[in-house]
């Protein structure tokens, strides 16, 4: 147990939990790293802390200044938590279609919140551009820029990767992660492959994201859409560029409903939508590469942040997503059959 003098010191050192039910069904050890244990409730706390520490060290950021960031929510919460610890202010710019749970967390942490309409990236009013503009217009503002600022990936290279290596005693065979900025998958893949080049790194990509297609063809093309938040992207960014990815799979929101309900029932674990996508990716890898593999993925944030979408039948019905879970054995049988949908770097 840690004793800390400020909440930022409590970031990281998260626990690893074995998903017994899915492990037993696949003959693998499937672990989730509980990033929800971070003080801000998500894996983004790590990136937030590293970006601020590095910027302070470089002298770009000084106490009393305001951090500006465009965010789907969790990075804003993480930055708000860390900003307070370092005597900084926080201004978050969010698209207004994200769960209200996250907006509330940002304001509860004393950060200022600006919401904008969700628009395509090329539109100047996109939250990303809005944050950049705000920072450019005020010299007391510092733009964190989690997409291009590689302190994000560095956080995982320095902390998450080593923790996984230590917690699995070097036995990790497959790492599965979703990607938004790509910081998590980049930093972890860099570290783990340095330790063992045979570690396989899998990307789980939701509908509506272009990463899977990019890896396959070199172009960012997407189909459909997803209720997941802050993951999937339609452009190549610096953090993602650092990622060493061996395999990728595109999985639909329907499967996230199935797995979320299954894990609540079997493990008493309420996962958020990106975490469910991670677990779906881990299950796909386990089914195709098991038995006997040690597979690690992330519970990116607290499941309650997905309450109004993933766990809300009306919302699901309105989106045309299944509201009742598919039987787990039927899902697994499907995953066994869809091996040809997985992209491999070296086929």
């Amino acid at each position: 147990m840690h004793v800390a003098k400020r909440s930022a010191e409590l970031i990281g050192q998260t626990d690893l939990l074995r998903l017994n039910s899915l492990s037993d069904l696949t003959g693998c050890d499937i672990w989730v790293k509980l990033e929800s244990q971070n003080p801000g409730g998500s894996i983004k706390d790590r990136a937030a802390l590293q970006m601020i520490k590095d910027a302070l060290a470089r002298g770009e950021l000084k106490p009393g200044m305001t951090i500006v960031e465009g965010t789907a929510g969790n990075t804003g919460i993480g930055l708000a938590v860390v900003a307070r610890s370092f005597g900084l202010n926080m201004l978050a710019v969010m698209p207004n279609d994200q769960t209200k749970e996250k907006e509330r967390m940002i304001t509860l942490h004393g950060a200022e919140l600006v919401t904008v309409d969700p628009v395509p990236f090329k539109n100047e009013n996109h939250f990303y551009h809005t944050a950049r503009r705000l920072a450019e217009q005020n010299e007391n503002y510092w733009w964190a820029n989690q997409f291009e600022n590689t302190s994000n990936a560095r956080a995982h290279y320095l902390t998450t990767g080593p923790e996984i290596w230590e917690q699995t005693q070097g036995r990790v065979d497959i790492l599965v992660s979703v990607a938004g900025t790509g910081g998590t998958i980049a930093g972890n893949s860099m570290f783990l492959k340095e330790k063992n080049p045979d570690v396989q790194v899998w990307l789980a990509d939701p509908d509506g994201s272009g990463i899977y297609h990019y890896l396959k063809t070199g172009d960012y093309v997407s189909q459909g859409s997803s209720f997941t938040e802050g993951i999937g992207i339609m452009r190549l960014v610096e953090n993602f560029r650092l990622a060493q990815i061996d395999a990728a799979v595109n999985l639909p929101d329907d499967d996230l409903v199935t797995l979320s309900r299954y894990l609540v029932q079997q493990e008493g674990l309420v996962l958020g939508s990106s975490s469910c996508l991670n677990v779906a990716g881990a299950l796909q890898a386990a089914v195709l590469h098991g038995p006997g593999k040690t597979i690690v993925t992330f519970a990116c944030d607290l499941g309650e942040r997905s309450a109004s979408k993933l766990y809300n039948p009306e919302y699901l019905a309105q989106r045309g997503v299944r509201t009742e879970p598919e039987p787990i054995h039927s899902l697994i049988a499907r995953y066994r059959q869809q091996g040809d949908l997985v992209w491999y770097r070296n086929p």
Binding site: L25, G27, D29, P291, G292, T294
Partner: protein, 392 residues
């Protein structure tokens, strides 16, 4: 067993040929006034008539001579004129029922050499993780202990023979074929293994097994090409076969020792008189562990027996006992034949044996007895794959 006369006759003729079963069948046509009456009458008839010799069930084939469940063990058993040859059934990754005793391959094959990476985190190789085609790359070997030593040191030498894992369908075809060429009615005595565990993994042992049996006409009790008995440790499985699949094949409830963790069932309760009465609702007989029946010698050197066979008989159940082994006798038994005779004398109707060429001799016969081994030498990891050698 109910109304259908033809079916009854065939069943009774083939298997439940004890007077008890006949009495039971007769009474079903003219129901007696009370359960107690049935029991009383059964006991009376059973003791008064001359009972036929116990049937011989080749335990995993003639497994005392060739690796268990191999084609060699099957063919030898057939040539030894046994009444039944036992098949344990588990499923492969592609849902094929194969004849193997354990849900793991560790103790009876060279899987560690052929597929070193296909083990689960518990370091075991599960049949369920292999397709039938992959299993064909393995060789069956004589059973080893968890420590890697041959379980029965004097049996078939390890690493010889190139014997392959067989599907249930292959064993059925072989038995039916040999029945035809040899003019016998050798039966199949099929155990559905670890059904709940399979179910948790999304695999249905009952459905797959009955589907294969159906393909060979072995599910229609009124018109069977060969006798079939189904056995299971899990009562729920037998109930399902009877009530959901509506099969009228004879069903044997196997009774484990609670320490083996076969299932959540309290087998100790099953062994009581009341427990046996309850079993009668769905089972035609019980498969008892020899240690549940024979308790060893008393101070005067006389063999002691539990009451369980009496209870089973009183409930109208056929009693089969597992497993007789000439190379591993229970304490106090001087010879395989002596043990056979003792158990026959107290009313046992059939034996699972690794040595099916050694049926009961006449009482006066005496043979050189094989060296007696300490019976406490049991195998590990019973909970996972019912690996106890005494479990059949």
């Amino acid at each position: 067993m109910k109304g259908n006369c033809k079916g009854l006759v065939i069943l009774v003729g083939w298997l439940l040929l004890t007077p008890v079963a006949v009495a039971q069948a007769t009474m079903e046509e003219n129901p007696p006034s009370s359960e107690a009456e049935i029991a009383q009458e059964d006991v009376m008839i059973a003791t008064e008539s001359e009972r036929p010799a116990p049937i011989v069930i080749a335990h995993r084939g003639a497994s005392g001579y060739a690796p268990e469940h191999s084609v060699a063990a099957l063919a030898m058993a057939h040539a030894m004129n046994v009444d039944f040859i036992e098949q344990d059934v588990v499923l492969t990754r592609d849902h094929v029922p194969v004849v193997l005793h354990d849900i793991v391959l560790d103790h009876i094959s060279n899987v560690q050499k052929v597929f070193p990476d296909k083990k689960r985190p518990d370091d075991r190789y599960y049949v369920l993780d292999f397709t039938f085609a992959e299993l064909q790359q393995l060789d069956l070997t004589e059973r080893r202990t968890a420590a890697g030593e041959q379980r029965y040191p004097t049996r078939f030498p390890a690493g010889r023979g190139k014997l392959k894992i067989m599907s249930l369908a292959q064993q059925i075809e072989l038995i039916l074929g040999l029945n035809q060429t040899r003019g016998t009615q050798t039966g199949l005595y099929i155990e559905l293994k670890n059904v709940r565990w399979h179910k948790q993994q999304g695999y249905d042992v009952i459905k797959q097994t009955l589907q294969v049996l159906g393909q060979y006409g072995l599910t229609d009790a009124t018109n069977l090409p060969a006798p079939v008995i189904l056995q299971c440790f899990d009562p729920e499985v037998l109930r399902r076969i009877k009530r959901e699949f509506l099969l009228e094949l004879p069903l044997i409830q196997l009774i484990a020792d609670n320490s083996w963790n076969e299932s959540d069932i309290d087998y100790q309760t099953m062994l009581s008189a009341a427990g046996m009465e309850t079993l009668r609702n769905y089972a035609d007989g019980v498969g008892l562990w020899v240690d549940q029946v024979y308790l060893g010698l008393d101070e005067q050197g006389q063999p002691q027996f539990s009451k369980v066979v009496d209870y089973a008989k009183a409930a109208g159940l056929t009693v089969h006992v597992y497993t007789l082994r000439a190379d591993e006798l229970p304490a106090g038994a001087e010879s395989y034949e002596q043990l056979w005779q003792w158990l026959t004398d107290i009313g046992v109707d059939g034996f699972f044996t690794d040595f099916p060429d050694r049926p009961a001799p006449r009482v006066s016969d005496t043979f050189d007895s094989p060296p007696s081994h300490d019976h406490s030498n049991q195998e590990e990891d019973q909970s996972l794959q019912s690996d106890n050698d005494d479990i059949d």
